[in-house]
């Protein structure tokens, strides 16, 4: 089987078109985030979340009425994974949360309620975790910049980082979009941050494969303009890029559907991130390197072979 037989698609020539597409999408998603903001999970806000399973059929609304009658007022009730499984959220922590749990067990006795899990996060921890998550994402981006800067050239490192930020922003935007549309419950929690960091790694991984090819082709085809080298390299790695994204997508889709509610947010974030990561490594990263060479360094990428080669080679 072969998906692409010697592909020769002019990705670089159409880079302006993709630049516009990306800009519009990212702009739209940023606007969405600015308007609606993120919905943080209790990992980051503090509070209590209780997941329950009841044996008798009951709808979310019925459950809400039953609880409200008994003066238990969760901030949120939603279904959790399967039928008759619910996730209740409360602001209370500590002793108060323990009291709520006891009351809950009493009220829902006739439904044979069972506590699946309970998370209580103090406000202090929430604040710290939020800070940690932010630092972690920042650190990973800086680490990537340093690594690629060392392995390739600074310009390439910058290209990879632009693609990376593109991916992170896009993924975050999609999280807000899908959450708002109510398709899937996506609040920013530790699992989603972990997925986001994995996306960071994957996005760079994909980009690096193309850069690696560019570095190789520059030595092999001396005298060919840089823009052509770049396009050739993208085409040569296209088959690999698509196959890998396919295999990863296969496992992610399996995870979205089969791994249960705990991992759903994680799997969704990864899926979006992997798709956009692949897109950006083809359409954003290399295009940015070209733009940077042309506009900032004033190099003629369309005609000249850019001689500057990578400082080190593995």
């Amino acid at each position: 089987m072969q998906f692409f037989k010697k592909p020769n698609i002019d990705f670089i020539g159409k880079r302006k078109l993709f630049f516009i597409i990306s800009s519009i999408l990212i702009g739209f998603l940023i606007l969405l985030v600015l308007i609606f903001g993120f919905r943080f999970g209790i990992d980051f806000t503090g509070g209590t979340e209780i997941a329950i399973r009841v044996e008798k059929d009951i709808s979310t609304d019925q459950l809400r009425t039953t609880l409200t009658k008994s003066k238990i007022l969760p901030d949120e009730i939603k279904s959790y994974g399967e039928k008759n499984q619910f996730l209740l959220r409360f602001k209370e922590v500590g002793e108060d949360a323990a009291k709520i749990e006891t009351a809950l067990l009493g009220i829902l006795k006739e439904y044979s309620v069972q506590i699946l899990k309970k998370d209580t996060i103090g406000p202090k921890i929430g604040k710290e975790l939020r800070f940690q998550a932010f630092i972690a994402v920042l650190f990973s981006i800086i680490a990537m910049l340093i690594y690629i800067g060392l392995r390739f050239e600074f310009t390439f490192g910058l290209g990879a980082i632009i693609a990376l930020i593109h991916d992170v922003v896009f993924t975050l935007g999609m999280i807000v979009l899908f959450d708002k549309l109510g398709i899937i419950n996506l609040e920013i929690n530790q699992g989603i941050i972990a997925a986001l960091l994995t996306v960071v790694g994957y996005s760079v991984n994909d980009t690096v494969i193309i850069f690696d090819r560019i570095r190789e082709n520059r030595e092999k085809h001396k005298g060919i303009p840089f823009a052509k080298i770049a396009n050739l390299s993208i085409n040569e790695t296209l088959s690999r890029t698509v196959i890998t994204v396919l295999t990863v997508l296969i496992v992610l889709v399996v995870m979205v559907f089969f791994s249960g509610p705990v991992l759903q947010g994680f799997a969704f974030t990864m899926t979006v991130g992997i798709i956009v990561g692949t897109y950006s490594s083809i359409f954003v990263a290399t295009s940015f390197v070209l733009w940077f060479m042309k506009k900032i360094k004033k190099l003629n990428v369309e005609e000249d072979a850019i001689k500057q080669v990578a400082p080190s080679k593995a």
Binding site: K118, K124, I209, V254, F258, L263
Partner: protein, 707 residues
Amino acid sequence: MKKSVGKILLVVIPLIISIFLLYPTYKASQLEKLKQEYLEKAKQAKNPQDSSAIIESFEKSYGEELINARANRIKLGLDLRGGMYVTLEVDVFKMIEESAIRDAIDDIFIEVLEKTKQEAKISDEDVVEIFKRNFDEIARPKKKYLSDYFDFGSESETEDKIIKKLKENAEESIEQALQVIRQRVDKYGISEPTIQKIGQRRILLELPGVTNEREMRQLIQTTARLEFKLVRNDENLVAAFYKIDEFLKKEKEISKGVPKIPTDTANKLQEIKSIDTTNRQTTPKDTNLTEQQLDTTNSGELPDTTDPYAGLSQEEKSKKYIEDHPFTTLFVTNFLPPNAERTQYQRDVRFYNASQVPKGEYDFEIFDEVWNKFESIINRKEIRALLPYDVEILRSAKPNIIKDNKGKEFKIYSFYALKREPELTGEVITDAIATYDPTTNQPIVTMSMNTDGAEKWARITGANIKKRIAIVLDNLVYSAPVVQQKIVGGNSQITGMSSPEEAKLLKIVLKAGALKAPVEIIEERIVGPSLGEDSIQKGLNSLLIAALLVLLFMIMYYSLAGVYANVAVLINVLLIIGIMAAFQGTLTLPGIAGIILTIGMAVDANVLIYERIREELEKGRSIRSAIDEGYTKALSAILDSNITTFITGLILYFFGTGPIQGFAMTLMIGILTTLFTAILISKALFQITLNMGKTNISFGQPKQVNA
């Protein structure tokens, strides 16, 4: 064939190693199943001897094997096996407060402490540092020095040394908390708990299998500070309570300004008030009402002839009495629900001299609903000044539950004025036993003391015969028995527990010793066993389905080469889990996600290589050289791409908590094993095939029709 031996070993050895590493996990699960069968049998046995014999026979033949297997098996995270994950913070603040010289504590010091407390609530900074900063800001300008408040003997010569000593004490109290909690958890009987210190003053607990949150909370959070204190419910206190009444009344009048009552009534009231006050001061007997007297007051007749309430209707009298006594009317003596209309003329002083109480002492009771109000009143600085300086007021641990005639339940607590300085503390306790009181059949804990403690206890009880000594645990009075005789031998007991379970917990915490500093739960995650089982099932299902689909895809796309890549991936997964077991890693649900993800990503290395080989084949190279070229040329791309993912794994590991670390761990192990299997094992397989004389290996490329 000879040439291939090394290559074959390269494939077979990792396989053997991973099976070897995973064997204990398999063995443990088999033995657990067997144990369940034995336990089932034991349950069905006719008598206890038989059932214990069955259990013993299992222990004899398999016990050691099971312990060994368990020690080397792959550990499941709390999210998979169910259990409790708790982060505790040690409240160092209390330690600072208690190291201070008691008599030296003044308003300035209290202000510094309050500010420190507030700041420590929102920051992870060293509490002693926060205290020092606040002390410098607030107390120092007022010419106060640390040496005014702390006395650590010769060590407290300079301010720096005091801070150093405080820091040492803080460090010590955190270490001590760690030890005490470890002992408690061990004695409670939790298998394989994790207890470790994290950060400045936090303790992380992972308690597999524990879902009884309430008991766990009690076990961990109980400070277990046991104190024996003298009860001071005497006349001085009653007098102080009346002073508080007056103080609050006056305060209310001032805040209200001119009373909004018609002048003639107001004048009358004014007059009455003055009589009332003088009356109380001149006739303290008034407060010494007995129960019998109370009964008479309830019926509406007054023992006093100089009645300040004369001429008022029942309702007005009642209302006025409450207005005049805003504090003591919070108390309970005879049953009256807190919200009930006080239509009856209630002139009773709301405490009494009960028959079971020593002469000259009072019993005070209060409704659960008003306790907070009561507490906030007595904690006010101005009001504390009205109370005897060396007493503190604490309430009973358990309420009395009383029903009114409609069957509604009310909780009533007793409260006690206790001499602040304890006569004896729990440090002298050497042993504690949870048992039942032979006469009442209530759960109790009996304690024995060391010789020093026993001597002191004998002296204290001897000196206080016919007086009450309160047994106080964590600032709650469990009992306040009247000392009947001198107690020698150092035995004492705690009563007032509501259940045998509570007695058992109390026994454990008393034995493990008191926490020098209280701890607070700041994060708590509980996973019920059913969700854990669900997660394992779903995780494994996803793993299988994902693996199957990826393997199928690889065979479809790369045919025989795809099969080789699959062999590499399978060995990869086995190796990841094997290495996790070997390094005592914990498998969490995100960890399983990491493994699933690795399957998807591991084939990437092979895809890179195979695409290269196809390119080389298209250029017309021989199969052997195409394979060599493919592996060489793909190497730098494979390394680069895996190193970037590895870096994110590292960052996740250091910034993540619990389950996320599990994910990072499998991701990193996965990358290392991927590099090994995807590059070396698949290449070895190709070379073995070629050495066997095959000249063509299909990489799934379409037949070159035009070539």
